[in-house]
């Protein structure tokens, strides 16, 4: 575990930059993280996915997979890739301030 300074605040992250504690996240941090990943600005659609991911994490303890996102977020998988080109599940989880999705075994 290391500490990163995001939007002026010290945040605990893992070695890949995923938040350890989702409660440390703010919307200002999301804007900064998105810019670092080449997304500027975050559109309403982006926010829809980010808030959905946080709600899923709060309920289930892990972020959803891309396929589950496509079935439940109201945004199609194709569109998810347009919004988060480097891979929606991981990239959106990082920007949404939740730990790296466990994924499937």
């Amino acid at each position: 575990m290391t500490t990163a300074t995001i939007a002026g605040v010290d945040v605990a992250v893992n070695d890949e930059g995923f938040f350890e504690d989702p409660d440390q996240w703010t919307e200002a941090m999301a804007e900064e993280l998105a810019r670092a990943d080449g997304i500027d600005p975050l559109t309403d659609k982006h926010w829809q996915v980010l808030h959905f991911m946080r709600a899923e994490y709060a309920e289930k303890g892990t972020g959803p997979t891309v396929r589950a996102l496509g079935k439940t977020s109201g945004v199609s998988v194709k569109e998810l890739y347009q919004l988060f080109p480097k891979g929606p599940a991981k990239m959106a989880a990082k920007i949404a301030g939740i730990p790296k999705p466990r994924g499937c075994i």
Partner: protein, 412 residues
């Protein structure tokens, strides 16, 4: 009134659960197993069919014949489960009431979820070996293949037996070497993962084995479309992998009736299941076993086998009105066929990733290492499946908990 147990699915999990419960419960407990057909497929055998190493008739037996005396087999499709009324509605019009329901219907292939997969080229140059018709057709396709690009693609996880697609690559390398045309066949493994496998130590070992065999590895490829006519896999981020022959593992979901049963499954129709007790999170009198659960563990026969012991213990406790205390640790154990009459073995659970050493103790089969002994183990396993695993016999020395002795943990 006597206890009514209804088990949905007469495959590995349903059969071994029924047989173990029949021994464990009083004679007046009624046990009914429901399945839509009579064909029990030894699924690990499907990997060997395309290479002519086994044949469909050698891996299929009658479902009802695997069930012990005193178990009722009801052949019908399943329409839906009414979890509030404790009833299962069957396709033949029957309604079965239950005191305890066991969901053991596994997972199903959903090729229709991937654009183009069932389009032109399907079963001509695009195949899967994950069912009997596919693996049979692939035997002919491989025999007719005289060179070019062979691509093996896992579309997305979870899938049954996540090592099987890698085993297919290793066997293809052996098969074309035996035919003397290996130099004319380019083999490529295309995966959505960031390495050859999910767990780091095994992923490094398996990745090295692909490399040694001159099998190309393409990672983080999320297939969005299969263009059979044009011979291309196309990812969501618009990368392309060309092929002359594609072996595709379609995405999996739980059984279709789960989707039609409000509250029973998650968004992929897998039953929400407690990872330790195997009781569903849906209703206390619904339990689940095998590939149809939501557990974060491989969908594999060995997992189902280890779950069986815990499940039956907990069902007995539930029927007796006691607290469930049997706990499953996520134990999984897989032989990985590596070609040229060798195989390797991995053994792991929720917390322990597969590492080197020996199984089940310091003296035993080598772990995470190719050997002839493991290959013999893999071959013997089919006999063991029909004669020990399904009847619900315990194996001396191998319990449901993962053994720690013999594992070399510093190798992580």
């Amino acid at each position: 009134m006597s206890t009514r147990i209804v088990i949905l699915g007469g495959g590995t999990g349903g059969t071994l659960t029924a047989n173990r419960l029949r021994k464990a419960l009083p004679h007046d407990a009624a046990i009914t197993v429901v399945d839509e057909n009579e064909q029990h497929v030894y699924q690990p055998g499907l990997l060997f069919v395309p290479f002519g190493l086994t044949h469909p008739e050698d891996i299929i037996r009658a479902r009802s014949r695997q069930l012990h005396k005193g178990i009722d087999f009801h052949q019908s499709g399943i329409d839906r489960v009414d979890i509030d009324a404790d009833q299962v509605h069957l396709a033949d019009g029957t309604t079965l009431g239950y005191d305890v329901l066991v969901v053991a219907t596994g997972s199903r292939l959903v090729p229709e979820e991937t654009e183009g997969l069932l389009g032109p080229g399907w079963m001509e140059k695009v195949f899967t070996f994950y069912d009997v018709p596919g693996s049979s057709a692939l035997e002919t396709a491989l025999a007719d293949f005289d060179g070019g690009r062979l691509v093996i693609n896992v579309i997305d996880l979870p899938i049954k037996c996540p090592v099987a697609p890698l085993e297919f690559c290793f066997l293809a390398d052996w098969y074309f070497t035996e035919r003397g045309i290996r130099d004319r066949v380019q083999i490529t493994y295309v995966t959505p993962l960031d390495g050859a496998f999910t767990k780091p130590t095994a992923s490094r070992a398996l990745g090295g084995m692909l490399d040694e065999r001159n099998i190309e590895l393409i990672t983080e490829f999320n297939t969005g479309e299969v263009d059979g006519a044009g011979g291309r896999l196309i990812s969501y981020d618009e990368r392309e992998v060309p092929f002359d022959l594609a072996v595709v593992i379609p995405v999996h979901s739980g059984a279709a009736y789960v989707a039609a049963s409000p509250g029973l499954g998650d968004e992929l129709d897998f039953v929400l299941t407690d990872e330790h007790t195997l009781q569903s999170k849906v209703r206390p009198n619904i339990f689940a076993i095998g590939d149809g659960t939501s557990l974060p563990i491989s969908k594999a026969g060995s997992v189902t086998h280890f779950e069986g012991e815990v499940l039956v213990e907990n069902i007995q406790r539930f029927v007796a009105g006691e607290e469930l205390d049997a706990s499953y640790d996520g134990h999984a154990n897989c032989f990985i066929e590596t070609g040229f009459h060798k195989a390797m073995l991995i053994d792991f659970n929720y917390d322990q990733e597969p590492v080197g050493g020996h199984f089940p103790a310091a003296v035993g089969m080598p772990l995470l290492k190719e050997s002839r002994l493991n290959h013999l183990g893999k071959l013997m396993f089919q006999w063991f499946y029909w004669h020990a695993l399904l009847p619900g016999r315990d194996i001396p020395g191998i319990g449901s908990d993962m053994p720690d002795a013999g594992k070399r943990k510093e190798s992580t």
